[in-house]
Amino acid sequence: MSTLQISQVSRWFANVVAVNDVTMTIGPGVTGLLGPNGAGKSTLIHMMGGLLGPSTGSVTLDGDVIWRNEQIYRRIGLVPEREAMYDVVTGWEFVLANARLHRLPDPEGAAERALETVEMTGTQDRGIAGYSKGMKQRIKMATALVHDPPVLLLDEPFNGMDPRQRLQLMELLREMGRQGRTVLFSSHILEEVEQVASNIQVMVAGRHAASGDFREIRRLMTERPHQYTIRSDDDRALAAAIMTEGSVSGVQLTSTGRGIGTHDGGGALHVQATDFAAFVRTLPPLARRHGIRLYEVAPADESLESVFSYLVSR
């Protein structure tokens, strides 16, 4: 049972702050590190994996500093995001080389077990250069597991995998978690994270935005205010009607100058709904009651970034 402790860690590159005053504890079980691209997930994983030093703060594993501590790798397995390996060798040779680099007492046995775990024994004698993306991912996984580490760090492991490989890897990660290992993986896809991780840490723009179990995060994300853009044949009348609804906190009219209330000019109504389920239910009957024709109802901010930025500004 191992615990990673990140205490008030910041990391900047020249004048760009990649990780900003993050404190989190990662214990046994599977933890998902969720955040949009550029949120600092990789930087954080690199610091947990000892490949980067924190500019300030400390990253420790069971009390031992990770940065510049080569012996820490007896307890950490890292699956990097980049695909490059020593592809002049076969899968077997590469995993075996990793076992030997760890100076394991029985490198052949360890390599065999690791390849069995990732189900690559059938193709282990082919050159790595000829592997598919999913096979490479599994070989990378085998190199990280070869010394049976209590801590496993994976940087965007699901990237580029097909659905079947994704399910296999998810099951493997769950199994690692059940065995009591501390497993941490990064992803920018909430569905991916909530299917595997019992615990979620959310990073946005270098900051630690939220943490907890996935139900909590899911609730935060669905209960946030939702923005809609609506076009109709009488935006102004619709705006007035909408404001009488309890599920709405704000309405804004925009026009391109060709006349509000006409359908020709691309004018639109921007609605902020506090309870999106209720709003979506009441909008159509409301429009019908006032004799307004709806042309378009579109959620304005469903991108992951806006979900995350809401979590940060909360």
Binding site: F13, V16, A18, N37, G38, G40, S42, T43, H46, G49, G50, L51, L52, G53, R68, E70, Q71, I72, Y73, R74, I76, G77, L78, P80, E81, R82, A84, M85, Y86, V88, V89, A97, N98, R100, L101, H102, R103, T143
Partner: protein, 242 residues
């Protein structure tokens, strides 16, 4: 030293078609020497021109550049060095191993062919074969250490290495006497000069630096560069998305 690191390095360095490219340079040296011997007979002056100008002046710096940067540069560029870095291995042991593999490659493909070319050109007369073989061997070792360090500290190691070997040592070194004091080629030539002995002066195989200075500088550069590369590898930053 680490056997597994050595094997991975050697396979990366000699794998695929790179070994053939590396063989090309000594093949050129040997065929030039055979042609020279066939056309001009055993000519010591010609031997010094070929061994000094081509073997020591071009072949070994280029081999040192290819092997020294190639032993570690590609792994740093594509990120696969992470598999060595995430192991309980001493960083100095990684660098020393890679340096040893590169130095062995340059010795086998640079110094040995130089010795053979010397024998072809002049037999064993005036110690030219042995002199240039030892000279190119120590030069190769020093170039490997220097260029391996370059590959650790900069992504532009090959360009900087080429500028150093071709522009600084060959071009500027020819016209600016002071520049010769800072030249692996000149330091190695001092070793060659000593082994060749008295005929060296007459043949023009003389170095701009004294033997003692040369040996000290060769040792300092080789050991210093290797040590510093190990130190830099400890804190190396791999490019990745932030």
């Amino acid at each position: 030293m680490n056997g597994t690191v050595a094997r991975l390095t050697a396979r990366g360095l000699l794998g695929r078609r790179r070994a053939l490219l590396l063989l090309l340079l000594p093949a050129v040296l040997l065929s030039l020497s055979a042609m020279a011997r066939g056309l001009a007979g055993a000519d010591q002056q010609l031997a010094v021109t070929l061994l000094g100008g081509f073997a020591l002046g071009t072949l070994v710096p280029l081999l040192g550049l290819i092997a020294g940067t190639g032993a570690i540069g590609p792994e740093i560029d594509d990120g696969s060095i992470v598999y060595l870095l995430t192991k309980p291995l001493n960083r100095h042991a990684i660098v020393v191993t890679k340096f040893a593999v590169a130095a062995a490659v340059v010795t086998v493909l640079g110094a040995l062919p130089t010795f053979a070319a010397g024998l072809v050109l002049t037999g064993t007369s005036a110690n030219l074969a042995v002199g240039y073989a030892v000279g190119t061997a120590v030069a190769g070792v020093a170039y490997c250490a220097l260029f391996l360090l370059l590959a650790v500290v900069t992504r532009n190691a090959v360009v900087i290495g080429l500028l150093y070997a071709l522009v600084w040592e060959t071009l500027i070194g020819q016209f600016v006497p002071g520049a010769q004091a800072l030249s692996i080629q000149q330091w190695s030539l001092a070793v060659t000069e000593r082994i060749v002995g008295a005929p060296a002066e007459q043949l023009g195989a003389t170095s701009a630096v004294g033997l003692a200075t040369a040996v000290v500088l060769l040792v300092v550069v080789t050991a210093g560069a290797t040590w510093y590369a190990g130190r830099q590898l400890r804190t190396i930053r791999l490019t990745s998305e932030v």
